[in-house]
């Protein structure tokens, strides 16, 4: 029940906002903030009551806070019964994202103060997005998952396209088409899977993700049956399906070369949407790769692990080099996201406990840190409507507290020990390095190559710090800017402090995450390796 409350509470609030008169529009943000705050409280409750000895991943018994109801049960005559369940549940792979989403949504709500136009539409869409994202992480029925997954797109399209920057329409359409391109093919695979899998209890075809993970549930000779080993267009069907699903999620992650929507979307999106994009949306990709791609097609995943690792390394280095050359602060951070999410792919592809844990940690950590970074850029942009690195210099003198937050965010992102990103990146790399000795999936040089990304990370962040924040104050906008560039306000601190604190706490006590996910990660690794 609690999962449904968590998921649909924002939807209720969205309805409330739609029904309230426009005269009250200044109060919409408080309704939103309150909703997200309640979500944070519920998520903390879930976190505290989450039993860390339950594995989940493949077995429904191992999931917690499960809600399993029949939803659509249409009799299709000779095709059997259409069995779509309302099936939600949490395990170690999804629980951290619930907490992450709640916190990021809270922060995004706080940063929505900057929105001034058409508040009713904005907050209603915002809350709709909230529901969709939470739903994605909770859904265990592929059909339900897909609905939530597509539901995310719609509000995002409008949020970027209506409240964005100068080239918002371009960015929104690019984002929308890119993502849709991936998910349309996902639909085909989903239907193919549906007709391949039988519920062992009812005998019907089913969309249940967990049953898709069990090779015994596939009908003999079905398209995606492991034993039948069917071919499609000369490629094994399961491999093809894996690749299609991977591309769908990889666009979200994003990986090189499917990343170009990200800088544009980030740059044009309003700050709260950037926060949500970087903080949560990218994690949907990583989560999908783990749960759906690796979960349902472990054989194909093993088969293509080498390539996934390579893509991870390329993303790390390519993103970092790109970040080094950017002149717009927000673009720089967007590319750093590409680089950091590369570690996720590398860690997952290693299929080791260290790598997968590191990848999970990286997603959580990057969630907080990128949200913080985008929030900070938003702070600057709100004040002077400019983000060019070269236009600022010596900000430390006039915005000392802001500089402290920027330094925390930068150093945490570049992997300074004591912050979560360090643990995450180190263990992603250790996993990748370990892989050859344990399961022989990734060669050792990939880990070494990936670690160069850490060096480049230091380079672009420190260079930015030096150029924008240190030295004597010199601003492109002169005295006018100097008066506009006030230090962070209380509301902004309210948003920044929790994220900085979380990054720090998770860095010092990584067991807060690792303990909760460990059993699931082990189960995940064993499942993929078919042990």
């Amino acid at each position: 029940m609690i999962l449904s409350v968590l998921t649909f509470l924002p939807l209720l609030s969205a309805l409330l906002i739609v029904l309230l008169p426009t005269a009250w529009q200044q109060r919409y943000k408080y309704i939103t903030l309150l909703t997200t705050l309640v979500q944070v409280i519920i998520s903390i409750y879930i976190y505290l009551n989450f039993a860390d000895n339950q594995a989940g991943v493949t077995r429904e018994q191992g999931f917690q806070f499960v809600e399993h109801r029949s939803w659509i049960g249409l009799d299709l005559g000779s095709l059997g019964r259409l069995q779509i369940d309302y099936f939600m549940g949490l395990d170690g792979l999804s629980m951290p994202f619930m907490l992450l989403t709640s916190v990021i949504m809270f922060v995004a709500a706080l940063s929505s103060w900057e929105i001034t136009r058409n508040l009713k539409g904005y907050f209603a869409l915002f809350l709709l997005l909230d529901t969709a994202v939470i739903g994605v992480f909770g859904a265990l029925d592929f059909f339900l998952f897909y609905i939530f997954y597509e539901l995310m797109l719609l509000p995002l399209y409008f949020l970027i396209g209506m409240w964005g920057g100068v080239r918002r329409e371009y960015a929104a359409i690019k984002f929308f088409l890119y993502t849709l391109f991936g998910s349309v093919f996902m639909l085909l695979v989903m239907i193919g899977l549906y007709f391949s899998v039988n519920d062992p209890v009812t005998g019907n075809h089913t969309f249940n993700i967990l049953q898709m993970m069990n090779p015994n549930n596939y009908t003999d000779g079905a398209l995606f049956s492991q034993i039948a080993n069917q071919q499609l267009f000369g490629i094994p069907a399961r491999l093809l399906a894996f690749i299609i699903l991977f591309i769908a999620f990889a666009i979200k992650v994003p990986i090189v070369p499917l990343h170009t929507w990200l800088p544009d979307a980030h740059v044009e999106a309003p700050t709260p949407v950037s926060i949500i994009l970087a903080g949560i949306l990218l994690k949907v990709g990583g989560y999908g790769i783990m749960r759906i791609c690796f979960g349902i097609f472990p054989d194909a995943a093993i088969h293509s692990a080498w390539w996934l690792g390579l893509i991870g390394v390329v993303s790390i280095l390519y993103g970092a080099l790109n970040a080094l050359a950017q002149t717009d602060l927000k673009r720089l951070i967007a590319y750093s996201s590409v680089s950091h999410m590369g570690f996720v792919l590398l860690g997952v592809a290693s299929v080791t406990a260290e790598g997968a844990s590191g990848a999970m940690m990286q997603m959580v950590s990057h969630g907080f840190l990128s949200a913080m970074l985008f929030f900070l850029v938003g702070v600057l942009y709100n004040r002077v409507h400019n983000r060019e690195i070269a236009n600022f210099r010596g900000l430390a003198l006039i915005m000392p507290q802001y500089t402290v937050f920027i330094m925390i965010a930068f150093f945490a992102s570049l992997g300074l020990p004591g912050f979560s990103a360090f643990i995450a990146e180190v263990f992603s790399l250790i996993g990748a390095f370990n892989s050859q000795s344990i399961n022989g999936l990734l060669p050792r040089w990939m880990a070494v190559g990936g670690s160069v990304g850490i060096l480049l990370g230091a380079a672009y962040f420190l260079w930015t710090l030096q150029r924008m924040f240190f030295g004597q104050t010199r601003l492109w906008g002169g005295e006018e800017w100097r008066t506009q560039l006030t230090d962070v306000s209380v509301r902004e601190k309210l948003a920044l402090v929790p994220m900085a604190a979380l990054a720090l706490v998770l860095g010092v006590f990584p067991s807060l995450v690792f303990d909760k996910i460990n059993t699931s990660v082990l189960e995940f690794v064993n499942h993929v390796l078919n042990k």
Partner: protein
Amino acid sequence: MTLDTPVVLTDLAIAAAILPLLSFLVTGLFAKPGKGAFLAILTIAISFILSAIVFSQTWNRLDIHQQYVWFTIGNTSFYAGILLNNLGSLMLLLVSGIALLVHIYSTAYMKGDAYLHRYWAHLSLFCFSMLSMVIADNLLLIYIFWELVGFSSYLLIGFWFTRDAAVQANKKAFIVNRIGDLGILSGLMIVFTQFGTFDLQQLLGENGLIINAFVQNGEWINGVHTMPAVWLTVAGLGFVLGAIAKSAQFPLHVWLPDAMEGPTAVSSLIHAATMVAAGIFLLARLFPLFNDTVLLVIAITGTLTALMAATIALVQNDIKKVLAYSTISQLGFMMLAIGIGQYSAAIFHLTTHAFFKCLLFLSAGAVIHEMHHVKQVAPVDFDHQDIRNMGGLRKHMPVTFIAMLVASLALIGIPLTSGYLSKDAILISSFEWAALRGSWSKIIPVTALITSWLTAFYTARLFFKVFLGKNRWRILSPEGHIHEAPPAMRYPLVILALCSTFLIFSVNPLLYEDAWLLRGFPAVESLERINIIHTVIPALVNLLAILIIYFAWQQYARRDKTIFTNRGFFYDFAFNKWYIDNLYQAAIIKRVLNLAAFVRGFDRVIVDGMVHLLAKVGQALATLSAWLDTYIVDGLVNGVGILSKSIGNFARNMQTGKLQHYLLITLFIVITFFIVTYFSLAI
């Protein structure tokens, strides 16, 4: 409460490390500008006392190892813990002791700075990281604090963040150190993959995993795990790379001279005495991991660095730069000692060097402090750190003069100083080491010997130029007056001067083998004692050194001359720091930035271009289908419409409303009917 139980001792050690963190947090979060000194000094003082207790209880006793589960990944638990052995507790004492003195010194040196609270906070953070690093019991923790040390060094180098040079320098320092960190990370990954643990004692203990692992048929075997033997070398080189970066060895030494942009007290503590020694510390800790190839690399790097830095130091004019290069040079000696398997000598030199180099910097700081005052009343702007503007300070700053004298003698390695003992240990060991090997290996001790003479010269040059000769600053600033350093600066100098003599290290001022510190570490590679070396080398070194000093005195103190005026090739080569910075700028930084710019263009034009191309193709297809739709598909539909419309019109036009038309039509139809009926019957 007995102090020697392991639990109590580890608790004390943890407290010693954590207290500065407390100071950092409190000062960083709550202190008002200019405050924070009291808390910082108090915490470091307590740390020092605790460290002293820990040291007295653990030196030459059994190792104390206490650990707690930190987190678990998969089936592996990662621990956080304390390892107190001779090396750890010695470093603990050394770091906290010198840090305490530097803290006290800073109260006077940094007086009146607008951001003083930040200074204390950052200094406390550094102490926390450094103290934690030396007692950490596993590689992961060491790595963590290793980076934190680098981070606090970053903060302190850039303390005066409005100066461009300072923020350039701290960026450089951090990034160069990051290169080393990559090495350590690689080493870490290899060790973890091979042994499944980071624990130092499990790895390196009496019957540790590393000692039991062996190389066979090109495979590095450890019980269950195997990997190609080359990875053993790579792991070693990785850690060495880390040490090279942190200890400013060739070719990653470039950050240290630039780091002198930080406050001098910081340079003294971090960039001379403690942090830069962390590389040596790490290599000493991990000594059993290194195979012969790696050790040789260490030895060659050390020797080369020592020589290079000494030659550069000869011609520098900035007082701190000279000292910085001498630090690099001395660290090279320590690397050399490790490379020849005498890590006890390295640690010994590390300890003595910590004291006398700290003293040198603090004395230089006192001089700079006074010169700065002189500059403030001067009519012209001049570089107050340039030794060419100093001179004759002996009469004005007698205590500083004597402190600096002791430190310089120790740096040169004149008998009765601590430097003599430790430097001899390295030099003599290197000769003994070379004796066991081929003739080519003589290059290393001989280079070291030459370097120690160069050291004598540049030290003498620095010293004479600053304290003897004419008062050159009078010409620049006739109003200026130079005073003795204030008490808070003076007393640390005196204490450090005492520590730079042989007194606290050995009862015999001439024979390093009697030093208690040296005996605290097991001889890893036993060298055959060649007696003749033990007599000839010290005599040779010192005799020539004294001649060199005398020559320098003649030139700089009595005649007030400059020797290196002709700008020949060698001068330029040394003055421009062997052109290494220029090389990096041209060969690496520019290339990386160009690559980044290229990748950015690639991303824009090619990758995004592909997307746009796809969009264009889509648009073209859409236009095409729109045309088809309008003219073909819709044309069909419209055609049907038009047809029915015309039929409709035709039918409509028949409805004339004229009776006779209708009748005619009726008639026509009837006749048609009959005709059709008639013919159909016929058919």
